[in-house]
């Protein structure tokens, strides 16, 4: 008797399972399509990165780090490259990097337009916001299950779980960035006769850029963390190294994999962040600006901006 009140069931689990079944039987075509496109994107990025001779790629990363962040960070990048080669996890690192870039790219291609739409339509924002909250509070492992059910094992489901998990910040910060553009800037755009697409591309997006870049940075970082988890459904890369370490209770191997992830994370974070700081607000100047300044400093053309 006392149990009666808690003795009922809402079979949410059953409903979800039924939904999944339905999708699997009725939407195979769509699922296959998605799968093929994603496979293509992932393969081309991985192929590209694996195709470059490791030393040249490493040199490129060091140069990029030096240019975007500074020479100290360049030194760090050199140390990171030496460690990755030394631990013999270069191939896994590059595989992870390729998957991160491919997943992030797809996440951004889908997420940024959603963010733009949210910023322009309050009703759409009201619907999307709770979905984003939901997506962000779900434990990441949960994404692995439907991904694996619909797409099997491998890089494609790994990438799907990743891009869904990593998309919310790009959506949110695009929306936020556009909404934060000052009323006077919008008025200036309209007063000079912008059409609504001109307003978007000439005023709102450029002014929202720092915020959008912060969103891109976060998306890439989330993608990295998810790609590691996604190795549980066969996404490969550094996550595999860690996973193997766990399965064999090999602390050393697990640590090496973990260290690889950390190094990659720091490199990706600092380099993508450097693009986010507004170039006109004291961030690292663009290459062109640097060249311009260099020539302006020469004695025969002392004119300064």
């Amino acid at each position: 008797m006392t149990n009666d009140i808690t003795d009922f069931e809402i079979p949410i689990g059953d409903w979800v399972a039924a939904g999944v079944d339905w999708i699997q039987t009725n939407l195979t075509g769509i699922l296959d399509g998605i799968s093929e496109v994603l496979a293509l994107v992932i393969d081309s990025f991985e192929g590209l990165l694996q195709g470059i001779p490791p030393l040249i790629l490493a040199l490129f990363i060091v140069l990029l780090a030096t240019w975007r962040v500074g020479w100290k960070f360049g030194l760090f990048a050199i140390a990171a490259m030496v460690l990755l080669f030394g631990m013999d996890i270069w191939t896994q690192t590059i595989s992870t990097l390729g998957l991160v870039i491919a997943s992030s790219l797809v996440a951004l291609i889908i997420g940024i337009p959603i963010g733009i739409t949210m910023a322009r339509h309050d009703a759409f924002e009201a619907i999307t916001r709770p979905i984003l909250d939901f997506m962000q509070t779900m434990p990441p492992f949960v994404y692995l299950i439907p991904a694996a059910i619909f797409f099997g094992l491998g890089k494609v489901p790994g990438s799907i779980a990743t891009l869904i998990f990593a998309m919310p910040p790009a959506v949110r910060l695009t929306n936020l960035g556009i909404r934060q553009v000052s009323a006077e800037h919008i008025e200036a755009g309209k007063a000079f006769g912008c059409t609504s697409s001109q307003l978007l591309f000439k005023v709102q997006l450029p002014l929202a850029m720092p915020s959008i870049m912060a969103g891109i940075n976060q998306t890439i970082m989330l993608a990295l963390s998810m790609v590691v988890i996604a190795s549980m459904i066969g996404a490969g890369g550094l996550g595999n190294t860690v996973l193997t370490g766990i399965q064999r209770l090999d602390v050393g191997l697990g640590f090496e994999g973990g260290l690889g992830v950390v190094l990659l994370a720091i490199l990706l974070d600092r380099i993508t962040q450097s693009f986010g700081i507004a170039q006109r607000a004291g961030g690292p100047p663009s290459l062109i600006t640097r060249i311009r300044r260099f020539f302006q400093r020469t004695p025969d053309s002392p004119g300064k901006g």
Binding site: A191, F192, C194, A278, R280
Partner: protein
Amino acid sequence: MQDKVVVKDLYKIFGPEPDRALELLDQGLSKEEIFEQTRTTVGVQKADFSIREGEVFVVMGLSGSGKSTLVRMLNRLIEPTRGQVIVDGVDITQMSKQELITMRRRSMSMVFQSFALMPHKSVGENAAFGLEVSGMPKAERRERALQALDTVGLAVNADSYPDELSGGMKQRVGLARALATDAPILLMDEAFSALDPLIRTEMQDELVRLQTTQAHTIVFISHDLDEAIRIGDRIAIMEGGAIVQIGTPEDIVTNPANDYVRSFFYGVDVSKVFSAGDIASDRAITVFERTGVNVRAALAQLHDRGHSLGIVIDSDRHYRGMVSVNSLADAGRDSEHPHWEDAFLKQIQPASADTELSEVLSQVTSNEFPVPIVDTEGRYRGIVDKTVLLQTLDKTT
């Protein structure tokens, strides 16, 4: 002058119940009462006026009186709730989206209080913004932008970025952006309010100078009467969304419509409102320089009327000189047939009628004699003396 913009019975109601608010307004309720009953704000009500081609039309009023709302209805950044805005004979409230965009590109441009420059664009690109939006090729729009920047003295900064400029320079870029499109109408919402007082005065003078070379029809929002008087041909004063008075600066200062309007003038520098001609008084004795009236007769005339000074004018009322009882007596003593010239007070220089009062002020106060005022043709208009000055200054403070 021709009417450039005609505003007819224009209303803007913000909030949930615009129709009901309009009804209540028609019944004569105030903005506050309507807000209490309906949570609906009257932004602008029954605005009815026209702006003439080439004039600087200043809109003044306290914060919240509806100035920004009014000016934004002129280019429909804010949609009017009721009424018409007629620009060059066309009612813009009836325009389609596309027509409206064309109108904004061709006929009106705007200058903003916080400048609203695009930080990612260079000064030159910012100045070219309006032209870029309307699809002008890059080389051509750069040239036009450079011309506009040159007008405001910033052509050398074309390749700088806004964050490298001072506030005053930024607003010059804002002005250049508005000038570059060649739109005949400029809307300026507190365009100079964010600037330091010194820079602000400089920009005001710049605007006035600009008006003499390429006259635009300017609608200028301000909450500063000194600014309004300095640049305005006419001033409209707003209170609670309604326009309570429109007139020239002199009109408004001398005949304020109500206490609200009058309250603006406390602490206003009247010497800038009035020109010498506005207050010149005819209290001085005028003596005609013609046959039959000689120096001795003039002396007698002054004695009779108990005046110590007189103004000598010719038959066309041209100013000839000022004489005093002493100078007339001296001239009569020195010569048998004294000339008028001998009796004129040498140190007195007439001032022209459009001289600012502040300039005449120092002459009057440093001198025991009044200052004679003449018009552009040299005809005598009156005198300004200490008494006249005191009366004028007293009227408004």
